[in-house]
Symmetry: D2
Subunit: 374 residues, 4 copies
């Protein structure tokens, strides 16, 4: 709806520029009486924070989040809980080296939003990317931490599964491994390959793309809608809205082009728990825009950053042809830092649909239904 609000019942409005005094967000619509403190949010921010290995930008941002509203210590429970009022979060910016950009401020960096922001708004916010900076993604991650608490039993995890030409071995997938390497890679061998490869990219002052996979488990069946409020449509919009993302797919994704109807459709049986059991998950947990109860599986691609140390042909804002090169800190593979952001966006969309479903439908009789008497 708005240009800076995301979601419907679980609504996130973000603000802030990379080199202004602070960034922040307002999470509106969160149910009351959910235990919440900064300690629930900070770990996710720490995952996203740059400068933690030689593979991400050396910009140092402690990214310490502060809750400004919407939480208070309840007399009944004695712990901080949400009140139902909007939850404002703020992170002060501490590393505002805007001078890095002054030399190139009138020249558009190829592949960067400088040109499009200028032709849209008629001005250049020359402070490190202004609003278009990936700095804003910290607030997406913070909001996602709250979203996770809204849906009981929800787990959202992500992993980097391809860097440049190098793919993981899916058979070797180990979620525990994701926490052990600087790439969020679920395959230890691939992580070693990524490290070598990315060192080379970094030393050349170049950059490379990546593919991330997000898996959400514990998504209740019935979230979404058959037409415009589709869970997959909203997920795709949310994830494509992350900086530098150029594609998104769900379940079998683009590979579905090559499948037959027999191979694609996930057959169903009755599970030992009496609930439906699917024999495969080409649907990626979503059928007809509505969650099936299977894990929601989504992949997205992050392009290589345009901030590279090689001079590139461009124009400036006054009509002259010129060359431009980004000096200083850069991210050889921004896809790495997109991993927790992808998780967060998926969590926000699911939380939103969880509340929407509760609003419209309330309690539904669960499958199997009772046969009506004849």
């Amino acid at each position: 709806m708005s240009f800076n609000t995301f979601g419907h019942l679980f609504r996130v409005t973000t603000f802030g520029e990379s080199h202004g005094p602070a960034i922040g967000c307002v999470v509106d619509g969160c149910p009351p009486r959910i235990p919440l403190s900064e300690a629930d949010i900070q770990p996710y921010l720490d995952k996203r924070r740059p400068g933690q290995s030689r593979f991400t930008t050396q910009r140092q941002e402690p990214d310490t989040v502060r809750i400004l509203s919407g939480v208070f210590t309840d007399g009944d429970s004695g712990q901080p809980v949400t009140t139902g009022a909007p939850i404002a979060l703020m992170i002060e910016n501490v590393d505002q080296r805007s001078k890095d950009y002054s030399a190139i401020k009138d020249s558009y960096r190829p592949g960067h939003a400088g040109y499009t922001c200028d032709v849209k708004y008629g001005l250049q916010d020359d402070r490190g990317g202004g609003r278009a900076s990936p700095r804003d993604t910290a607030m997406r991650v913070a909001a996602g931490a709250i979203a996770r608490k809204v849906v009981p039993g929800l787990s959202v995890r992500a992993a980097l599964i391809q860097m440049g030409p190098h793919k993981i071995d899916r058979e070797a997938w180990d979620w525990a491994e994701v926490e052990r390497n600087p790439f969020f890679c679920p395959d230890a061998k691939a992580a070693a390959t990524f490290a070598d490869f990315l060192d080379g990219v970094r030393k050349q002052g170049s950059s490379v793309g990546a593919i991330i996979e997000v898996v959400a488990e514990g998504v209740p069946p019935g979230l979404g809608a058959p037409i415009y409020g589709k869970l997959d449509g909203d997920l795709a919009g949310a994830v494509m809205g992350i900086n530098a993302v150029k594609g998104v797919e769900i379940g079998a994704g683009f590979a579905a082009a090559m499948l037959s109807g027999e191979d694609n459709a996930d057959e169903m049986r009755v599970g030992n728990d009496g609930r439906p059991r699917f024999l495969s998950n080409n649907a990626g947990g979503i059928l007809g825009g509505i969650s099936t109860g299977q894990p929601v599986v989504l992949r997205f691609v992050v392009k290589p950053t345009s901030s590279i140390l090689t001079p590139r042909k461009t124009v400036d804002r006054y009509g002259n042809e010129t060359e431009v090169m980004t000096k200083g800190r850069h991210d050889p593979c921004v896809g790495i830092r997109a991993v927790p952001i992808g998780e967060a966006m998926v969590a926000c969309v699911i939380a939103d649909h969880y509340l929407r479903q509760r609003g419209q439908v309330g309690e539904t009789p669960a499958w199997p239904f009772k046969k009506p008497a004849v």
Copy 2:
């Protein structure tokens, strides 16, 4: 917010089930004084209409659209124009063979929305897919026809570029060819291959997926926003919201994972017309969520339909394991009919952003900007 409205300033609300009396939509927010009559809409519906070749379902729907409101013959211009009031469109359903489905109504078809709709709403609308039916896409196409008229100079075209394992030769791309074969394929040779391939699929009662490419030309630079109102995010959400779509990518898309920053970023020069000229279009016409003025290029994948003639394992709504098979008419490659629908969704998103940009920004000084006096 709503489950059945799409867009913000150019808003489309659709209604109707495949086997109810009618389907329709309300297009709200359309600017006034745009010439519009049924003749502007019907050709696009005719393109989407099934039963035009042996390669689509034989369901016969004349799909004759009727404008119920929002247009009147202006005294000044003497022709029918939009008034600024909501434009309601309606198509009466004439081929409501709901008995085709009665045998299987309590069993969920694998890969079909029957199960998810049931666990969401607690009831089975057994009339040919109910709301989840692709019947609704006729209204998307109709709305798209109006959207095209909102943005001066806009052209949105699409083509089927892959069917099953068969891809087109991009060197052979000919837009004129798209009108000449039943697949909307821009490569005559590939179209012949598709025909042979799909005949085989059809005879087996099977189905197959496809990939469609949409190209929007004449998109003004500056549409979109750097964060949540991103043009690419909204396009992805819109296109993923089409029935059976499982993935969407923009510009270089998933291939960007393998590109270096040097190869990916589109360099800029000054064109002969004094406007910026890009030396490539890996961005697909969108940088930082905002249109560059280059063609917007988007691809999406359509899964094979789940309505196939082979028996499949499933469960019914009362907890029993069973098998199900779809009898009667079916679409061996629903991707074909998705071509005009993809065009329509892209047109709607662009029209919406065109109005949003005009609302927030009004007139922007065009590039190149005037250098301020020192």
Copy 3:
């Protein structure tokens, strides 16, 4: 956001002009499995329908409503129920005497939307008021009939309590009387006075204003929000949005200016049913934007219609001074027909907030709360 949609989770989008082929609406977000057929809606339309007494316009509109979507006969219950899909309603226009207006089409009627619509949209929809016609209110009434079924136990009634200078005696209030006179007046004596008075107005070709009171009982406590989603704010917006309404007040309303804090605040006791009992209702059932559980009481004023038989000074669209007079059918007191419309808007707002509350909060422990153990 939209200019023609009302509500958030219970959303009503209307369309149609008074002299076009049809008017209609789409009610989106209605919960599934609510029994609904045309018979639930038609009686409310019949109440609003003009031409039922000599005191309303003689325009004859049978106003027969047809449900186009969103309802089907459930196999489980055997009766027509909502499916959760959008419910489209349509009424064909049968009495389209647009020639009545042709003589005055270029002259703006004082007090009428013709001038403002023209300067807004740049054209004159000369068909009987176009979109601004009160014809649209039929769809508000229809949507209200559905809204009433969404909130269990809700009752919304209204009455005309003042016509011109003549007020009812509140001591004589009898809801049963409202059904017995053509003014929806709860005081039989006042109704007789109204009849005499309005006959005089009508014979002079003049018109007169009125005040209507709406009372909603069975509104659950807790609907609304402390800031922008206030129940009273949304009610005021909804009711002021009815044609010709110029003021709205809740509870003590404008009289609260003269009250002291002691007299205004409604004291509380514990009722015999163990629930809170208020000793007065100056709040009109709403405190801090949230329903108290008391009846919601709201009043609004309807101005006299501008369609009168006396010539009036005006200008035409081409810059000339002129005079204008409305010929033909007119409503001496449009406030009468506003009674069921006011009810409907209040019902829609309450249904919307009922779903919003369920979405955000779900189940709340009811008052009295359990004292936490120390």
Copy 4:
């Protein structure tokens, strides 16, 4: 849409509790390149700030606003301007005496939101009214200061025209006088009466209601819409959403009940400037939901505050009957401080509709229209 967002294209999202660390808002959708600094906002906050005379609460809040985002010093103009990005504003709370409320925290104050917030959210935010506190209105005023800059030529002023039973003499109206007395009263004699009257109320620990009139000049004709996006509907919703407001009327308002159609409708002539001239303004500047170009005139009533020094019958949250009395600081007439808030809400609504009109319609040919050639 949201519970804490207001507006559509000019969108204000507020957050914060009276006794939390800060309150703030995010203004999204503001056009770029508008000169803006804290100095444009602070004067309006200073007007609203309590503790400036003996007639408002002695709570001391410096209310110093800080812009956190959305503004930067433009290289072209050399001054701080809006960028088109969301503008975040924050005010740190400095006077958080929450202990004032601890004695009464489990008892509901009659006429106060404590009870309704508790039954809605299932908890008591006992810090001075929590989210329902009038503290939030500071952010409405701040947002209003930005809104004023969005619409060229717009002037929005308000005045207190009735306190308790005492009304101003409208013949004595002098806008300059509004700045000279602590009541924002446009009539010097009435201001003296108000002072005497309110001193008595204050000494008794009582409170009293008031009526405020807002006048917006320079509103372009054509803002609003004939049905749900009505300017008057949105104004009514906005103003009724201010704390303690119980009624709102536009133009002739409730007095229109007693007018005849002849007396109510504003006749039109051609003004000396060639633009339409109205001979009266009973419409209050709005016809059919759309602005006429006349001043928009709106009145609203503010109830007496429920925080009074007299013991009142009530219940507590655990089901016991009790009495409650507010100690400490209180506002004998909260209507005084509502004056700048009313202005702000009206400015926000007009700015929103200004952008909406530009979005949908763009440039309209102004009245008078050119006669088409025959």
